[in-house]
């Protein structure tokens, strides 16, 4: 039962960070939220007994994807332009 | 108008995405799990790999892995292609 509650907490964190990705106007903040999302997703994979996938998500999702997003944001500009 | 359509589309897709939530049951998967049981029961002896996932990735479904490596290769080619240095005079007109 305790595990179920912990699992619920992690799922809630997953959903909240996903919502933050959608909500943040600042792209850097969105990228940071994406990093958190990747961490929690990897933890979720770990809980679901998929260590292979967790390693892949940790290496690729947390490290590389964040780096690639940051590079793209560096080239494109930080603020999400909003249509007038 | 467009906003209403967008909202309706999102609502419908959310409702549809809820269907698996209601009808699949987490923790006790498909009725027929013959393929996975086969992998767990025979994979270790047939491939010699203790890690069944690796056994599937490189032996049973090795062809998928080849395709996936090809996807990565394709992405590298694509990124290199769009960032390449253009030759002089290699400009095309548009409009």
């Amino acid at each position: 039962m305790i595990e179920v509650i912990a699992h619920t907490c992690i799922i809630a964190g997953l959903i909240i960070s996903a919502a933050m990705i959608v909500r943040f106007r600042d792209l850097i903040s969105a990228a940071i939220a994406f990093g958190v999302f990747s961490f929690l997703l990897s933890l979720e994979f770990y809980i679901l007994q998929a260590p292979d996938v967790a390693i892949a998500e940790a290496g690729i999702g947390a490290g590389l994807t964040t780096a690639i997003f940051i590079i793209a944001i560096r080239a494109v500009g930080r603020d999400e332009e909003v249509e007038e | 108008m467009k906003k209403a359509v967008t909202g309706a589309v999102i609502l419908i897709l959310c409702a549809v995405l809820m269907i698996p939530v209601l009808s699949l049951s987490f923790g006790s998967p498909a009725v027929s799990q013959g393929m996975d049981d086969y992998f767990i029961a025979h994979g270790q002896e047939q491939t010699g790999a203790n890690n069944i996932v690796t056994g599937i990735v490189f032996d049973y479904r090795g062809f998928d892995t080849l395709g996936e490596a090809t996807v990565l290769f394709t992405a590298v080619l694509a990124v290199g292609l769009v960032f390449r240095k253009l030759k002089r005079g290699e400009e095309y007109e548009y409009e």
Binding site: G63, I71 | T47, N50, N51, F58
Partner: protein, 154 residues
């Protein structure tokens, strides 16, 4: 264009560790969690770390883009040739032609939990290594390209 002295030093010191750990993941792919992709991604992330610390021109002098490109091509060719050899031996494409033969990587394994031996699993370790080399080359070269593109943009 590069980080402070501390970050550089830590990156330098931890790079061999990340590398050897990535190789550990690659060659133990058939025993522990991991495999070619994961190990390759770990190594590529190590290179990415170096790039973060030293700037990509400085790193590209040591680990050149050509080296990485060659690694990628070599990995893919090794992968597909390993798979094609099975056809020459009269079996189907992608058959595990080394498993349970007693040769290199061919030690038979009995069913059930065990400590595992590096010398098993037939072509799987070879393919692991091939894919590891390919992924490490591919992901790092993507980063190189993107960084040079980003610098061109400014």
């Amino acid at each position: 264009m590069n980080m402070s002295r501390i970050v550089r030093t830590v990156a330098d010191i931890s790079f061999p560790f990340i590398l050897i750990y990535g190789f550990y993941i690659v060659v133990h792919g058939h025993l522990t969690p991991g495999g070619g992709f994961q190990g390759g991604a770990v190594i590529a992330t190590g290179i990415v770390l170096l790039v973060a610390a030293h700037g990509h021109e400085a790193v590209a002098r040591q680990i050149t883009g050509n080296l990485l490109k060659n690694a990628e091509t070599f990995g893919l060719l090794l992968f597909i040739i390993t798979a094609l050899i099975a056809i020459l031996l009269g079996q189907g494409f992608f058959t595990n032609w080394l498993a349970n033969t007693g040769m290199l990587f061919g030690t038979p394994v009995a069913f059930g939990p065990g400590p595992g031996d590096l010398n098993t699993a037939g072509v799987i370790p070879i393919m692991n290594i091939a894919v590891g080399i390919e992924v490490l080359g591919a992901l790092s070269i993507i980063l190189y390209y993107m960084l040079s593109g980003a610098q061109e943009a400014r």
